[in-house]
């Protein structure tokens, strides 16, 4: 899969199980307009589904600080519940805003879904 550029992709969030992880695959531009949909999906999986949640940003064509704020809030919620929260494929536009804000030192980052640790902590 290649990272998409531009805003020609409809925004979508879909969840799948990968071993002990619930992976949310996000596609499209993540901004003030679309971030509430990711927030809702994250709240849903963090509340009910899984103690291990990863957000796959591979097909996120653009992300600004609104999208980042949703990820920060999810990380905080996961930490409070002693759950695991990770970001996957945070390059391109998402990687830029994460690095600019210094949060690359805060999030657990993995290059690919296959790199998520499968052994329970």
């Amino acid at each position: 899969l290649k990272r998409r550029k531009g805003s020609d992709v409809e925004f979508s969030v879909s969840a799948r199980a990968v071993g002990s992880w619930t992976v949310l695959d996000v596609q499209g531009d993540l901004d003030l307009h679309t971030a509430p949909r990711l927030r809702e999906e994250l709240l849903n999986v963090l509340s009910h589904s899984s103690p291990r949640v990863a957000v796959n940003l591979l097909t996120v064509s653009f992300m600004d600080s609104t999208g980042l704020g949703v990820l920060v809030a999810a990380l905080k919620r996961a930490r409070e519940a002693n759950d695991e929260f990770a970001l996957v494929s945070a390059g391109g536009s998402p990687g830029k805003v994460i690095a600019l804000t210094g949060l690359d030192r805060v999030f657990d980052l993995y290059k690919a879904v296959e790199d998520l640790p499968m052994a329970e902590r």
Binding site: S7, L32, S65, T66, G69, L75, K76, T101, L103, V106
Partner: protein, 160 residues
């Protein structure tokens, strides 16, 4: 299309190209596309175009959140080639909160984003400033281009 209109002056460098849109989140993507298309037309590098895309998104988000300012007017994104770069103006970005009360930095207390929207724009384009606009509006202005100070020399924030 109701809610959004554009005046392009690309090729006639003296006049700005202007996008006006209702203060609605759905139009922020159009603003990014408008800015990047013009930036590409004026020869900005791909790296600067990515910075421009992010800065315009942050600025237009501020403007949408301010709801069009005191007059409730459309958000106005203006880009003008100055010969030294691309001058970008967005209004009304609203009265800027102090760093501690910036809603962009809030995330339920505790862990929070270390950088607010305006600070992020300033990290991308070092000459970014908020100026008095028309009728009490707040205008955010920055320059994208080879001669604008600060871009691509990012200051990393101190994490809290």
């Amino acid at each position: 299309v109701s809610g959004i209109s554009a005046e392009s002056a690309a090729g006639t460098d003296a006049r700005p190209s202007v996008l006006r849109f209702r203060a609605t989140a759905a139009y922020i993507a159009s603003a990014r596309l408008f800015a990047v298309t013009l930036g590409r037309h004026y020869g900005l590098t791909n790296e600067t175009l990515e910075d421009l895309r992010l800065a315009v998104s942050e600025a237009c988000t501020l403007a949408v959140e301010s709801g069009g300012g005191p007059t409730g007017r459309p958000v106005e994104l203006s880009l003008r080639c100055t010969g030294e770069g691309l001058q970008v103006e967005i209004q009304d970005v609203g009265e800027q909160p102090s760093e501690d009360s910036d809603p962009a930095r809030q995330s339920d207390g505790g862990l929070r984003q270390p950088v607010g929207r305006l600070q992020l724009v300033s990290m991308l384009f070092g000459d970014a400033e908020v100026l008095p606009g028309e009728a009490g509006a707040h205008l955010l202005r920055f320059s994208a281009g080879p001669t604008s100070g600060g871009q691509h020399v990012y200051a990393r924030p101190v994490l809290e």
